[in-house]
Symmetry: C4
Subunit: 192 residues, 4 copies
């Protein structure tokens, strides 16, 4: 049972939520404890983790924007998979803080993989809901088989499991996914 | 004395406020105190309370959006009942923090019911103001008798009172209301 | 030297800033220290100060929105008086926190008056800049002599000075201004 | 390989990020520690640093808005230089906090110069990407040689280096850049 509402109006607050999540992630960056140059060294892990998460969220922002432009109908499935995506992404500021502090431990590395996997699954569900809701077959053709999404999910799942071996393996896998997605999805751009 | 202004322009900042409230609620989630897996257990109540409130706010976001689409005229009554709604919803991040910490006590459970009741009453007032401001009788017909709103208000009031018996009764009732609203309001979608 | 740019596009981020300021003000509300009902009493001053500031910012949001609808041209004067207004309003979350904690003292009460006066002066400057930038004489006619703005400024200045006698006089005057503005400005609504 | 997407829709979230960054910067302002007037003096450096950063971000907001109006096509280069700009600007709330506390030391003064330089370089890269993506030669002609941008970059680099001599030299240079940009860029306004 699909509900045809203006896709543009319905999506706009999502972009705002993503924008606010990105900027709230910046709150995890604390000022160095003193004014000497050495004090900056202690914030280096925080800064690197922040950069990685900024890129992670920037990629979602980008792809979400492209997806949004392709969608013209919003079904209940679209609405709730979108909310689920925003929910998992809203955990990123907290995960950023946790990973930045305890990056040597397994638990934050594994949990990060679970959150990233859940976000990727929600994004896949969102893509599929849009394809189902969409009358125009062009969207289905564009999306095709979501190989890149599937690979991401496998890498995140692997990263979560391998955190018990070493968190560095996990972080390498997570960064690999971001590198893979860094170039925005050309499929939509080409076809629309 | 109604004031006809562009409903779309007037409502848009409300969506931003809702989006910011949702993401500020995420700030109530603190990173676990250490990097061991057990540290996550202590954050479980926080996480569950956050999920519940994310859904609670998501439902308002959703229904507010549908209501917004039906409204074409903004009277003073609409403006102020909308501000009242945003006011009560802006208490949710603080309530989330309080309930997450003192969920075994009666006071936060009862207060949550009062805030949720006030939000529900403001939403009802907003709906009625829009019906009154609207020239098109279609909106009044769509909204009809707001049985679901009334039941929600009774459950919230009951939850607030029964917190003195056990906060778990209250939380069950609050979750029941969310489940009841989980499916977005089809009335607007069908008629517009 | 006036610059004709799309007023709508230029103003929109201002509405976002106002929306974020309003919701950040909510961060000044801390959860009660424990789960007993008495713990809420200690937060009562905070809550009242928050309500007063929510109304204060809501009035600016409202009037700013009406002004925005009347403006079709943005000059440099409009741009910078608008930024000045947003600057002073951005001090409100901090002032809310300070007044909520030290409401019995003169300094926060007096400072609040200074910030409110500066905001009112910036809003007047903004109104005048818009009138000057506007080709249509209708705006000038609508705004007319800004008696209400002048009275507000006098009451804020009086409140700032009389804080040294008693902060309660100041707060009474500040609340009086809000009551005076509570009804949105009909002048624009009537003429546009 | 350019991607023609609606520039307006793609840019809008950037304006939101900038708006949220500006208001988050306000969070660096803490309420004075007590209700006596002397307590305000201790917050004076904080307030001055906040004012300077509000103006700094306001100038970017302004110029970004003008640039946004000139752009009609978004290439990948535009997208990523824009994200880089937002990244460096998102460090400003943290830098504001650090400079406000340790303004007598070299490290925050030098780091501020580096962040400001990186932001300026990102803005230049953004301008050049837009010129390249743009079909209309008018934009290239308007932007011309970006003398003002180059001078800013040199002053920021100089400020970062001279912080080791005295942070006051750095802050003078940074303020000089803001004064230079205070008047919004007339080039776009005139030609569009």
């Amino acid at each position: 049972m699909r509900t045809a509402v203006s896709a543009r109006a319905a999506w706009r607050p999502s972009a705002t939520v993503l924008a606010v999540i990105i900027t709230l992630t910046a709150l995890s960056l604390r000022a160095p404890v003193s004014g000497v140059f050495d004090a900056m060294g202690h914030r280096l892990p925080e800064l690197l983790v922040y950069v990685a998460n900024f890129v992670f969220l920037g990629i979602y922002w980008n792809n979400h924007h492209h997806l949004m432009r392709a969608a013209t109908r919003i079904s209940s499935g679209v609405m709730w998979s979108n909310l689920a995506l925003l929910f998992f992404l809203s955990l990123i500021p907290m995960m950023t803080e946790w990973v930045a502090r305890d990056y040597r431990d397994a638990a934050p590395a594994a949990t990060y993989g679970v959150v990233a996997l859940a976000s990727a699954l929600a994004f896949s569900a969102l893509t599929r809901s849009i394809v189902r809701a969409e009358a125009r077959p062009v969207v289905a053709r564009i999306v095709g088989r979501d190989h890149k999404g599937l690979v991401s999910q496998l890498l995140y799942a692997g990263g979560a499991a391998l955190a018990l071996v070493s968190p560095w393996i996990s972080y390498s896998l997570y960064v690999a996914v971001s590198v893979m997605w860094f170039v925005p999805d050309r499929r939509f751009a080409r076809a629309l």
